[in-house]
Amino acid sequence: MPVIDLATTPLRALNQALHDAAAPGHNDTAFEVLNPRGAHAVAVGIAAPVSVDVKGSVGYYCGGMNEQARITVHGSAGPGVAENMMSGTVVIKGDASQYAGATGRGGLLVIEGNAASRCGISMKGINIVVHGNIGHMSAFMAQSGTLVVLGDAGEALGDSLYEARLFVRGAVKSLGADCIAKEMRPEHLAVLAGLLAEAGITDVKPQEFTRYGSARRLYNFDIDNADAY
């Protein structure tokens, strides 16, 4: 297994090695990254089914644009982790900073600690599971995909939400414009059970969550809604 020490190897060499893993004839399937020390853009743009274990905390945009890879950060992540992820899995063992999973199109992002503000902002198909709490303005303009929060959500959850599904187990400080609590039907419980299982969570039941979604009043501009903006 290649071990890449960022104390001695430039970041570009790491990312190039991870990109090369997608080319024919490359057989490395597991990488370990040492001494990230908060570096930006660790393991971005991977397009191969490799696993990457990062031993420490990372800075901005770790795992951005990921396709197929399983990236595990054994520490915390800075802003924009797994931004625009396409597929694969990113697991953060610690906390994640603001806009985790922003604009993600697919794959699964698991944050075992807390996520800060704007978690899942403009998500477009990604699934995000947060073991702890999320900060304010999370799922802002979220279009599709599912956000699961085992703890509490901050202010203005799901403001101007489209069709993303939000499940929160704890308290929601406030809902954003056009975000409402909705009935939990069997198909929602099934989706939630599947995601909890995928994230390796066995001690929490889907029935403990509340579902939130769009009231669908702001999709098209209507002068009667002006007060809601």
Partner: protein, 297 residues
Amino acid sequence: MCGIVGLFLKDKALEPQLGALLSEMLVTMTERGPDSAGIAIYGAPVAGRAKITVQSAEPERVFPGLEAALAEASDGSASVAVKSTHAVITLDAARLAPVRAALAAMGGIKVTGTGEAVEIFKEVGLPGDVIARFDIPAMAGSHGIGHTRMATESAVTTMGAHPFSTGADQCLVHNGSLSNHNGLRRMLRRKGMSFETENDTEVAAAYLTAEMAGGKNLGQALEGALEDLDGFYTFVVGTRSGFGVLRDPIACKPAVMAETGRYVAFGSEYRALSGLPGIDTARVWEPEPATVYFWEH
């Protein structure tokens, strides 16, 4: 962008390393702002003595005669230690007002900070160069703050660099931009505050100074800032015995903190904290929006 750092020591055994630790923290933030940099270090106060840190664009001309020029105003108590473009004047605390008046009358000299404990060094240039110029790594102290600037709303000048100090042993560094600073500056001028620059951060510093002059402690003054300051900000503030952090309610300017039994540290990014002793076992967290944090010795 801008990068800000702060380090508040709980363990006196670390005090000789304060300058070195804070320097390393600031250099990691270089990419966040290459225009200018500055550091404030709080050293051990000496009873009855005050310090004035001054800056001159012509240090070779101005500083050699400075001690003699201040002899009368300081009643012979002033001694001058020159460090590159800055000099630290140490004097009898009772002579502070006449010496400041004498400095103002001289021209060509700007005051970057005054107090019993603080020394403030700031210049245009990269953090590494600014730190080396003033030999910051050799400085000891109990706490300090630093800033590297990417200028957005006022000129890149020495006096436009952070930290800003508007009261004795008070200083502030800022990542962000304020939108109501012109109105606040007018209000503070009416209260008797004076300003060196058109910079928004100087207004925030003066606001806190004015609030604390009115009897508030640092924590109370920061609570007031949440009501009275409009804009984006993450602030780190130093006082003679304390260290505070405040983020605006939107909190888009990054902030990470770490605490161990030996220190409390602040960085714009985790990279700034990654070289601190014991960071792997420290409690690391992001300060909450609109929440005042402060520590005092």
